[in-house]
Structure formats: C-alpha cells, structure tokens
C-alpha cells in the first residue's frame, strides 16, 4: 500500500504542475503584451462625460450611467448570494440542533426568523466591546450614508456606502443590550427594507421608459439636474446592499435578537 500511495501522490503532484504550466503557456502572451493602452474612451469621457451624466466622479458616471445594466446584474448577484448563503446558514444551524426539517423550501428562508434561533452565549460580548461599538455605531452609520449619497462627487457610491452602512448596523447590533434589538438592527425590519429596496430599484429602471430613453436611460436627462438619476440609484443600491449584508452579518453572529 505504501508504494501505491507514494506513486499516487507523485502522480497528483505531476498533474498539478502540468495544469499550471498549461495555463501559464496560454496566459503568458496576454500578460507580456504591451501595446499602448487605448485612450479613445478616456478622451470622450474626459471631454463630455460630465455634462452627459451630470456626475463629477467619472467612475460613478460609468457604472451608474453608461453601464448601469452591469451594475444591475451585480446587485442581482449580491441578492442571490445573500439568499443562497442564508439558505445554507439555516441548514447549517439546523444540522447543529436538528430542528424540524422544513419540507423542500429553500432552507425555509421565508420562515427564517431569528426569534426561534437558539440564543447562544456570546463569548465575544465583553462589556468593553459593547460600550465601544455602541458609541461608534451611529458615527459609522453616518459616514456610510455620506459615502453613499456623495457618490457622484467624491469617490464612493452605492456599494461602498452600503457596506459601510452594513458594518454600522452590525456595530449597533453588537452595541445595544442583549434583550431588545431595537432600531435598525432588528432583522425583520432589515428583510423588509431589502425587498422594498429591490422593488424600488426595478421601478427606477422602469422610469427610464417614461421619456423614451429606454429601460436604463436617464429619466432626468433633459432637466437641469441629470445627476439626480445617479444620486437616486446610489441611494437605492446603498440601502439594498446595506440591509442585505447587515442582515447576513447579524444572522451569522448567531442572531442579534
């Protein structure tokens, strides 16, 4: 048996090297190619990007204006990932304390309410942590809203602001006393906010139809504030990302409530 395992290990090491060398051969020309970087797109955007989309920050002009369909796909990927992870999470928890196996629903995400979640003693909830996060929470939340709403001027925007809001929510969940999870860190409220944000996001894209600019066009294109579209999108995406990631982190911490 010893000879066989040594030979099989040698064989598996050999196939790994073959796979990596094969990939390296294909990748090398692309990495070493140094033709000059194309500048047409950059010149057009530098010249007329601002007044077309209204945003001073060109990157958010692109990913919320010109290529807003990609960003929409990305929000959907985030939504599906959170739903999938929550489904898996409840099944992992149920494997731990073999609760009733819900028949065929997707890990009973619909029925997943943290109230029946078995309260676990939180070793990490020392008093110091509670006081500090309790105080910092609102400040982080405020900063998150700033990053979200000023996406078109300073760097930042929907996603970055949303993640900071999510961490703000987690701080609040950690910070407040254990019994009631009042305020924004209550999981029920977060689920509602997330679904509402997703619906409003789609309605915003439908609004592009009104002035005949197509689904993802800018409805406020011909008004004086075309940047309004980007601000609205930033706000809605920020809310959606913030609530869904906040909800996931709270669920991962074993349930704030």
């Amino acid at each position: 048996m010893k000879e066989n395992s040594k030979r099989s290990r040698y064989w598996s090491r050999f196939t790994t090297v073959i796979a990596i060398v094969a990939m390296a051969v294909v990748l090398l020309p692309i990495f070493l190619n140094d033709t000059s970087w194309p500048i047409e797109a950059r010149d057009y955007l530098a010249h007329s990007g601002t007044e077309e989309s209204g945003a001073i920050n060109l990157v958010s002009a692109i990913y919320l204006g010109y290529r807003v369909f990609d960003t929409f796909g990305e929000t959907i990927v985030l939504l599906v990932a959170v739903l999938g992870t929550m489904g898996m999470l409840s099944r992992v928890e149920s494997l731990v304390d073999t609760s009733l196996e819900e028949e065929h629903t997707i890990g009973s995400v619909s029925g997943f309410s943290l109230t029946n979640e078995k309260r676990r003693s939180h070793a990490l909830r020392t008093h110091l942590l509670e006081v500090v996060t309790g105080k910092i929470g609102p400040i982080v939340l405020l900063f998150g809203f700033y990053v979200m709403l000023y996406g078109h001027v300073s760097p930042g925007g929907g996603f970055q602001g949303g993640v900071i809001i999510a961490s703000g929510i987690v701080f609040l969940a950690l910070g407040n006393p254990q019994e009631g999870s009042s305020g924004i860190s209550n999981p029920e409220l977060l689920v509602r906010l997330e679904s509402a944000a997703f619906l409003t996001l789609i309605l915003v894209f439908f609004s592009g139809l009104l002035i005949g600019n197509g689904f993802f066009g800018n409805p406020l294109a011909h008004t004086q504030i075309p940047v309004g579209y980007i601000v609205i999108l930033n706000a809605v995406i920020g809310m959606k990302v913030g609530t869904s990631l906040g909800f996931m982190c709270i669920a991962m911490m074993g349930g704030g409530s």
Binding site: N57, V59, V147, P155, G156, F159, Q160, C249
Partner: protein, 79 residues
C-alpha cells in the same frame, strides 16, 4: 513603490496557502486586500480602493471568520 507592494502581496498570498492555521490565512487574506486598496490609491483609483477596502477586506473577512467559527481552525490533514 508598486513593485514593492506587489512583492508583499505575493509573499502574503504564499503564506495564506501554506499556513497550517486557517485563522492566520484569513488575516493574511485581509492584509492582501488592504495592500490592494493602498495600491489602488497610489494608482489614482479611489473608488476601487474604497470598494476593495470595504468589500474585500471588510465583508470577506467577516464571512471567513464565521466559516472558521463553524468549523475547525486547524488544517491538520496536511498534504
């Protein structure tokens, strides 16, 4: 400067894959994300730097730590 940061990222990446303790791997991964964020600020890409810092280092570290808390920290199967 960029080459120095890239070399640091490569060393951290090698460390994540070879370290026996997974928690050290997770910490090295978030260090890689942070250095990436630093690199992006140098390369005049502030948006991507904030995203990398917030999303890359922040959220994925939380998820990795949750995964480790729910399972075993030691990578004792070895090669």
């Amino acid at each position: 400067m960029i080459i120095l940061l890239l070399a640091l990222i490569i060393m951290l990446a090698i460390y994540t894959l070879t370290s026996k303790d997974l928690l050290h791997g997770v910490i090295a991964m978030s260090a890689v994300s942070l250095i990436c964020a630093l690199l992006f600020t140098i390369l005049q890409a502030p948006d991507v730097a904030i995203t990398e810092a917030a999303v890359g280092a922040g959220v994925s570290t939380v998820i990795f730590v949750w995964a480790l808390r729910h399972s075993k920290r030691r990578d004792d199967e070895g090669e």
